[in-house]
């Protein structure tokens, strides 16, 4: 490719084109204006979504990345524009979401002088980025952009931030782009050691009570078919983590449900009965393990993981298989014996029956007055034939939605797991819809989180994105209230909200909607939301003081999971 003379900002946009970018989420401002000016000539090639706040832009990019598997692209200006991205960057870091964030910066000679809208975003974002870099000369742009995409998307994905000074945007360079294929100091994945596969297979073949954990690594490495083939051959029950949801069909016979604090009774309880745990692409989060010193004590641990720093970080492994989950599972399948583990499965069935009687029936088919979150989720899931993309915020509604929403396709669950970012849902749902325009996207949100990024209703309306927003409103910060009830003597310290007329707000943005508070109207209301041409806001007034169970109380062992208060 021959070089041509372009400005730094043109080079930046051309680099995005080389990387196949079709959607950018952003917000302009002084220090990134040259880039926006260059973008003006590319309106046919790339869609730019002007959000109402930079946090909306980055969560939008996260939603897009999670459903497409492509990196999310974010533009923001210097100073407050850049700092407003921080929550989303931290969220993407802990949930391994590939992002390339471009921030404008004051001109290089002004760096470090407290110039107008100057913030040291490179310094600030170090702990929450996979990599970051400040560009101060136009010549650096093509190479650094290529590295940014390579680093964000390979190995364990994550957010990368590139800070570009305004003079580098204005300057001229000889532009030539080459995709990055390697970096000397960075090996995204190691070749899988066949000895480790053999050692893992031996443990699997001997195990009487094996349990496989499906982490997001399955989705990130596109190993959905491999994990299915593996469990079908070995008959091993599979439990998914919050971010592993949708990697298998919900109704797969070997899927025993969700791990974690509000996960299913069986997988939590029986983790401490298992004699082998096969953890694939997951990181033993404290919400999954409960009290680590009493965690899976009867089990040997196989950890299949791409990030070497995760091995032995929380739980000591017996066999570590370092590398890509898809390749590891492919190698393992040939080395394991067929099995059914029938009596072991019966233990899960017994647990399921208990959970069903004590919790699930009451959540999904309540008879007492007052709507439950569970019944609303069940109806949406049924009416979308388990084919919708579910995007949630953080709190009670999130846990209920994750427990009861059904999935058929992978990459259908978008939630803020590790960071637990309230305000995530609305912009992430918008990004998910842009990434999967042909699919139904349902954003399930609580009344607290909704108001943290409610301004993105404007972005949804402006771009005519047919997002279905189901607001589960109990006029409380429900999860905090639940903890106050259970662990703080019902001292409801600052958790009650006096809420606005949400439907009126939606209408103000040009988004239709209505409120439902009666069981007999719920089905038709959800149908109306789903049938509506365009975005829709359905406010479901739910019982004020409902709780989420089962629950592994903080600091308790997973086998001490409780089913009722």
């Amino acid at each position: 490719m021959t070089a041509k003379k372009v400005t730094g900002s043109q080079a930046l946009i051309l680099s995005l084109m080389e990387e196949g970018v079709d959607t950018i989420f952003g917000y302009p401002g002084g220090a990134i204006m040259p880039v926006y000016d260059a973008l003006y000539d590319f309106d046919k090639e790339v869609k730019h979504i002007l959000t109402r706040h930079e946090q909306g832009a980055i969560h939008g990019a996260q939603g897009y990345a999670r459903v497409t598997g492509k990196p999310g692209i974010v533009f923001a200006t210097s100073g407050p524009g850049a700092t407003n991205l921080m929550t989303g960057i931290a969220d993407a870091m802990i949930d391994s979401t590939p992002l390339v964030c471009i921030t404008g910066q004051v001109a290089a000679p002004l760096l470090g002088t407290d110039a107008f809208q100057e913030s040291d975003i490179v310094g600030m974002s170090i702990p929450v980025t996979k990599w970051n870099y400040q560009i101060t000369t136009p010549e650096e742009i093509p190479e650094v952009m290529a590295q940014a995409f390579y680093i964000a998307t390979t190995g364990r994905p994550g957010p990368v931030l590139i800070d570009v000074t305004k003079d580098a945007q204005f300057g001229v360079l000889e532009y030539k782009y080459e995709k990055c294929k390697k970096i000397r100091s960075y090996v995204p994945e190691t070749n899988i050691d066949p000895h480790q596969i053999k050692a893992a297979a031996d443990l699997i073949n001997e195990a009487k009570k094996p349990l496989l954990f499906v982490g997001q690594g399955i989705i990130l490495s596109s190993a959905e078919e491999e994990v299915k083939a593996f469990i079908e051959k070995t008959g091993i029950p599979a439990a998914w983590t919050l971010l592993g949801l949708s990697a298998l069909p919900t109704n797969h016979r070997l899927n025993v449900g969700m791990l974690g604090m509000h996960g299913n009774y069986g997988p939590n309880k029986l983790t401490n009965e298992a004699d082998l745990i096969i953890a694939v692409g997951m990181r033993f989060d404290d919400r999954v393990t409960g009290k680590v010193s009493e965690y899976a004590k009867k089990a040997k641990i196989i950890h299949i993981e791409i990030d070497p720093a995760e091995i032995d970080k929380i739980v000591k492994t017996d066999v570590a298989v370092l590398g890509d989950a898809k390749k590891a599972l492919k190698m393992l399948i040939g080395n394991v014996h067929p099995n059914t583990h029938e009596s072991w499965h019966n233990e899960f069935k017994k647990c399921d029956a208990i959970e069903n009687e004590k919790v699930i029936q009451k959540d999904l088919y309540p008879t007492k007055p007052g709507l439950t979150m569970g019944e609303a989720i069940r109806i949406v899931s049924e009416k979308t034939n388990n084919e919708a993309i579910l995007v949630t915020d953080v709190g009670q509604h999130q846990m209920i939605a994750q427990r009861y929403f059904g999935f058929k396709k992978s990459r259908s669950n978008v939630t803020s797991g590790g960071l637990g970012t309230m305000g995530f849902c609305l912009p992430a749902a918008m990004g998910a819809q842009l990434g999967a325009p042909e699919r139904t996207v349902v954003g399930v949100v609580g009344d607290g989180g909704f108001q943290m990024t409610i301004q993105e209703l404007g972005t949804i309306a402006q771009n005519k994105l047919p997002v279905k927003i189901m607001l589960l409103n109990n006029n409380f910060l429900g999860m905090v209230r639940q903890w106050q009830q259970l662990f703080f003597d019902k001292r409801y310290s600052f958790t009650e909200l006096h809420n606005p007329d949400f439907i009126l707000i939606g209408k103000g943005f040009g988004i239709d909607g209505h409120t439902v508070d009666k069981r007999e109207d719920l089905d038709a209301s959800i149908q109306k939301m789903l049938d509506h041409d365009g975005p829709y806001l359905l406010e479901v007034k739910i019982e004020k003081e409902d709780n989420v169970f089962p629950m592994v109380p903080t600091g308790a062992s997973v086998s001490d999971v409780i089913l009722e208060p």
């Binding site: 170090i126 996979k130 990599w131 680093i151 970096i183 090996v187 720093a309 032995d312 970080k313």
Partner: protein, 180 residues
Amino acid sequence: MKKEYILTVYSENHIGLLTRITNVFTRRKTNIDSLTVSESALHGIFKFTIVIHCTDAMAIKLVSQIEKQIDVLKAFYHTNDEMIFQEIALYKVPIEPIYESDTIEKIVRKAGARILEITKDYVVIEKTGHKEDTQALFEELNQFKVMQFIRSGRVAITRDPIERLSEFLKERDAFLTSLD
């Protein structure tokens, strides 16, 4: 059980990397006792020598978190007995006591230290050794009121006959070539 570890980190020379590395210690609430950074024998590759006090398990975790940083090539951890190490200390002492007696001269000779500069006001003494040695010399000289004292971070070399960095770079080069 906590003990002293020497971490050696080899990296590219990129702005901000020092913060990235020290941040790993901050997150794990581990204090850095000493830190030395300089170019290694290999052009363009920088070497950090970091002394910390922690458990074996923590040393392993810190090393893996440091290696995870994109611009870090390789990190190792060693116990003190696996390395030969030194620190250098400088002492600025007033000149009068030297005129008055030969005590300072004797102390310097006994400690294997050397005198770097003598002026009409002060003398600057240099001593290389382990922290205990340079500290002991400080205590002795301080009877004459040391005016300034500075000790460097540690520099260290492995006792291992195998040069693990060279081995590592060979492997890495082969791996990168295999990607072409």
